[in-house]
């Protein structure tokens, strides 16, 4: 018993302080991956039946709605293309490296429940698809988190709301940089080390600053919810609501960004 207990304690220390346990984890994850897929399967099956049974009326309705949306997006993209060209020209004038388009891959979240202490999700893509440690994960609305564990066919993502996650951000209005750390169970994010005098207001959009060389620049992380100045405290308390729909999305995007050089 004592041998096994010591072994377990040793593993715990290794997992927290050293880094070779990443390999043990990814090797063991191949054993548990079938269990995760097995649990996910009935959920997916029900989804599929639900798809099959939707009425024609509903489909037509959805179709027109999507058509309208596409039209709107197309109009927007025309403007965007012109802006992109202009941006590239301006960058060329400044002779700085151009913003490289990131390569993306859609991944699905496996419907499994992990421990309630930490905000993590399992994706159905792994080393086989080229997923790497620390890779950013986005959904259609913003940054979801980053990959913390890659197995052969699955990978684990730490969500932005986890207290273990920190992302360097920038206020899109005032340009102030800060670090966003998850709050944990409440599902919010907070900004740390922001002094009272800094210009951050409620409803400001916070985007990734790209200073960590992990997350690409300019993806929305969240919107400032409340800013509280407590007399006697050195830093302001700033709560942020994440932009990504962390509880609703089933599809996420994995991003391969080339090392971005800043002008």
């Amino acid at each position: 018993m004592f041998i096994f207990a010591t072994l377990a304690i040793f593993l715990m220390i290794a997992d927290n302080r050293l880094h070779f346990s990443v390999k043990i984890r990814s090797a063991l994850s191949i054993i548990v991956a079938p269990i995760q897929y097995l649990v996910n399967w009935p959920v997916e099956f029900i989804d599929r039946i639900d798809d099959y049974l939707t009425s024609q009326h509903k489909l037509l309705e959805e179709n027109t709605q999507l058509h309208n949306e596409q039209l709107l997006l197309q109009a927007k993209i025309q403007k965007f293309m012109a802006l992109e060209k202009e941006n590239a020209q301006l960058r060329a004038l400044l002779s700085s490296a151009a913003h490289i388009d990131a390569q993306v891959l859609a991944a699905q979240i496996l419907a499994v429940n992990l421990n309630p202490f930490d905000q993590q999700i399992i994706l159905d893509k792994g080393k086989r698809e080229g997923v790497y440690l620390g890779q950013p994960v986005l959904d259609a609305y913003g940054v979801m988190g980053q990959i913390i564990d890659v197995g052969p066919i699955t990978s684990r993502t730490l969500l932005v709301t986890s207290p273990h996650s920190a992302i360097p951000i920038q206020d899109s209005r005032s340009g102030i940089r800060a670090i966003a750390v998850g709050e944990g169970y409440s599902g919010d994010i907070k900004l740390i080390y922001v002094t009272d005098t800094m210009d951050i207001k409620p409803r400001d959009l916070l985007v990734t600053s790209g200073l960590d060389l992990k997350f690409p620049i300019g993806y929305p992380v969240g919107v400032v919810n409340t800013v509280e100045h407590i007399p006697g405290e050195r830093f302001a308390q700033i709560k942020v609501t994440p932009s990504a729909k962390l509880n609703l999305s089933r599809q996420v995007l994995l991003v391969w960004s080339k090392k971005l050089t800043r002008s």
Binding site: F10, M12, Q36, Y185
Partner: protein, 167 residues
């Protein structure tokens, strides 16, 4: 003679099959997605299934099995490696020591014992989580020890039934 040995082997194999299936099911139930309100009521499946098997077959389901199960559970739920392994090993060790006494308990006395074990397990996990950084402050966390204990009589009779069937 040969036939008798054969039938013993067969029933032994059947029991091992039941053991593996029950552990697999317990793992699946551990990560089965539930609505938010029910999430807190989720019993600690692996622990109570492990308690049952150590109680019934202390010679074949031992500390090694508990350790491997705990490690798999850690990878499965994304906790610190070794966290569940350690507590399951400790639980398995003590049940292995006192299994004769515990077998003589009436069903509801057993339920009370299981409740105590689950509470100790939860306190342990809570402390380790606190040490490694992310803690959770909600009383609902402790509800699962109640549901686990309530599940024990059902699980006990169910698995007992399967075992007699196999024999």
């Amino acid at each position: 003679m040969v036939k008798k040995i054969d039938s013993i082997m067969n029933s032994q194999l059947k029991i091992y099959f039941i053991i593996v299936i029950s552990f697999l099911l317990a793992m699946m139930l551990t990560i089965l997605p539930l609505p938010n309100w029910a999430n807190w009521l989720r019993p600690i499946w692996i622990l109570i299934v492990l308690i049952y098997w150590v109680l019934m077959m202390p010679n074949s389901i031992s500390i090694e099995v508990a350790w491997i199960l705990g490690l798999l559970l850690d990878v499965l739920t994304g906790t610190t490696l070794g966290e569940h392994a350690l507590i399951l090993v400790i639980v398995a060790y003590f049940i292995n020591k006192f299994y004769l006494r515990m077998r003589l308990f009436s069903l509801w006395q057993q339920t009370l014992t299981v409740f105590t074990i689950v509470v100790i397990y939860q306190v342990f996990i809570f402390c380790i989580q606190g040490l490694t950084g992310s803690i959770l402050i909600t009383w609902q966390y402790w509800l699962s020890s109640l549901t686990s204990a309530m599940l024990w009589p059902w699980l006990f009779t169910l698995l007992q039934g399967f075992c007699t069937e196999a024999k």
